[in-house]
């Protein structure tokens, strides 16, 4: 069947959906991704600024009760309203940014260094070690991060440090997977073979040649994992198993507002929006970075590493 050629839109049918092949298509795709990077980066920078400036931006003490002002709707005095203890929700959200970003930063740092370390050794040396390591990693990847984190929290008990430990443990295997995959390809490249042929020690080859060439995918993974870490941390806090009250965390504020959802929806509503904006910023940045750094995936921007 042939469609009649529509006057005025002759190109439409000729180029339906294939990869952006022409220069213009590629540039468009790239521009869009840079927009993702730009928007995501800006959002993230704003959230970081809020967290750093928390003492200045918070209009009230985030944990001071003021029962006279309980459950006030948003107003000039209380930007995000107040909760059932009369605490200022805006101030709690602002200080909560610190907790979330802190946890995300440390978790991702620890998981990336630890996981990538395991992955690079496993991929570079291969053999039986690789086989055993990857079986364990596959097994851990089969379980949801939240379940792993809950199991660790159940044993260790609730505290900021334990949240970090639990989430970092849950995130280690994904970094090991990504790092191993990249290492396997980098290992076969000429410059690595040359370094080995020149008599470089394993340590030197790894540190000077292999690891620096594996950074891009790990960086993308770090960004996306930071988003996930914030989601898992706030889930734990929401369940009452994370950082303990009265510390202001986003998950805890949502949980506090749950009982007053009908009459004071701003408590859960606005604190959840803070999580969403932050996580969206990180996800956008991750998507954009993935496409900028990995030309083979450009424009696909998908779940290869998730």
């Amino acid at each position: 069947m042939t469609a009649p050629i529509a006057v005025g839109a002759p190109v439409e049918r000729a180029a339906p959906a294939p990869a952006p092949s022409g220069l213009v298509g590629r540039m468009q795709a790239r521009l869009r991704r840079s927009v993702a990077c730009l928007v995501g980066g800006t959002v993230l920078a704003a959230v970081i600024a809020v967290a750093l400036l928390a003492p200045v931006l918070a209009t009230h003490d985030p944990i001071a009760n003021n029962l006279a002002d309980r459950l006030q709707p948003p107003s000039r005095a209380h930007l995000f309203g107040t909760d059932d203890f009369g605490r200022d929700v805006w101030s709690r959200v602002v200080w909560g940014a610190r907790v979330s970003l802190e946890v995300a930063l440390i978790v991702v740092g620890v998981a990336a260094v630890g996981g990538a370390g395991v992955g690079v050794v496993s991929g570079y040396f291969g053999g039986r070690l690789d086989l055993v390591t990857m079986r364990v990693v596959d097994m851990m990847l089969a379980f949801p991060a939240l379940l792993l984190a809950l199991a660790v929290m159940a044993g260790l008990g609730s505290s900021l440090l334990n949240v970090i430990v639990a989430v970092a443990v849950a995130f280690l295997p994904r970094f090991a997977r990504v790092q191993r995959a990249v290492t396997l390809t980098v290992r076969e490249r000429e410059f690595v073979l040359a370094a080995v042929a020149l008599g470089g020690t394993h340590l030197r080859v790894l540190a000077r040649h292999v690891i620096p060439n594996c950074l891009a995918p790990v960086l993308v993974m770090m960004t996306v994992s930071a988003a996930d870490a914030i989601l898992v941390e706030s889930s734990l806090s929401f369940l009452g198993l994370g950082v303990q009250p009265p510390a202001p965390t986003w998950g805890a504020v949502i949980s506090d507002g749950r009982s007053f959802l009908q009459n004071a929806p701003w408590i859960s509503g606005l604190s959840g929006a803070a999580i969403m904006v932050t996580v969206l910023g990180l996800n956008l940045l991750g998507d954009g970075l993935r496409d900028l750094l990995d030309p083979t995936l450009r424009g696909e921007g998908e779940e290869a590493v998730r």
Partner: protein
């Protein structure tokens, strides 16, 4: 195929074993004396000694591990400290509502995500694609418990269409369904975002293939190309990804059950952690993990049955 099956089965065995190990570690991670922690500050010396005896805490760690795995393989996780009934039995009393929720959530996510993903792929780099992918990314960035609360606020409190909590009256399937609606929607929307992205990339992968170019060259309509040639080839990867996401799905039920105060494995897990009912936590961790791995392996095997290329 035989080799592939063997490989998947060994993965299954290893993962179940891993689940046992994680469950065992839960108890070992407890700082101090687990018996003391479980019984609380007011426990007598005798009752602590008795529990230590029951849990076998006096023996070396490796012996505890071996006996734990041995008993767990028979479904014996000891008694729940709260109900005094076998912990494994307690899990199965709440197994059904959780699986209903997970299945309903999966259904919603597929109904939503697959068409959206196909549409986005077919209209790649056009406004519709941007809108869909942006929405999907936003959905993925929402905490599922917050989404649940938003739905609760809108549909239960403001519109009064759906009940707020629980899983419905015993035996009434209509009531069960009514209570399932909102939780399934929360879970399904959240997962649908991910399914959309994955469907889109699976479709884009297929659209690049030569047989699609052939179909185009034959002058088939775009609709026919997408529906008959692309979708049929992308279907398997899409379904596989959904199966593999079953794990994430079950992680989500823990949160959704808490938001909607639904009985289930997730809410039991949380209350057991609160009550320091460790045998119950261990049994739940094992059942959760085993269900996830079983589904994953089943999906893998099905995939191989349909696609000979995987078996190599």
């Amino acid at each position: 195929m035989k080799r592939f099956l063997l490989q998947r089965l060994s993965f299954l065995a290893l993962s179940v074993f891993g689940a046992f190990t994680i469950a065992f570690l839960v108890m070992r991670l407890i700082p101090g004396d687990p018996a003391q922690v479980m019984l609380g500050d007011y426990a007598t010396k005798e009752s602590i000694a008795r529990l230590r005896e029951t849990l076998g805490l006096e023996r070396p760690v490796w012996m505890q591990y071996v006996s734990f795995v041995g008993r767990a393989l028979q479904g014996d996780f000891g008694q729940s400290l709260v109900t005094q009934r076998p912990a494994f039995y307690e899990v199965f009393s709440v197994f059904a509502p959780t699986m209903q929720l997970a299945a309903a959530g999966a259904l919603v996510s597929m109904l939503l995500g697959i068409p959206a993903g196909i549409l986005a792929a077919a209209r790649r780099n056009r406004p519709l694609d941007y809108v869909t992918t942006t929405l999907a990314l936003s959905g993925m960035s929402m905490p599922v418990f917050w989404l649940g609360l938003l739905l609760l606020f809108l549909f239960s409190f403001t519109l009064g269409w759906t009940p707020t909590i629980g899983a419905g009256a015993e035996g009434g399937w209509l009531s069960t369904l009514h209570h399932l609606l909102l939780p399934a929607l929360a879970l399904g929307l959240s997962l649908g975002a991910m399914v959309t992205r994955m469907t889109r990339s699976a479709m884009l992968e297929v659209i690049r293939q030569d047989y699609i170019r052939t179909a185009r060259a034959k002058g088939l309509t775009e609709l026919l190309i997408i529906a008959k040639h692309a979708l049929r080839n992308a279907a398997l990867p899409i379904l596989t990804i959904i199966g593999i996401n079953f794990g994430i799905q079950l992680g989500g039920t823990i949160l959704v059950e808490t938001v909607f105060a639904r009985p289930g494995m997730g809410s039991l897990l949380i209350s057991s952690i609160y009550q320091r009912d460790y045998p119950q936590v261990q049994a739940l961790v094992v059942v959760f993990a085993t269900s996830i791995v079983l589904v994953n392996v089943a999906v893998d095997v099905l995939y191989a049955a349909f696609d000979p290329r995987v078996r190599a």
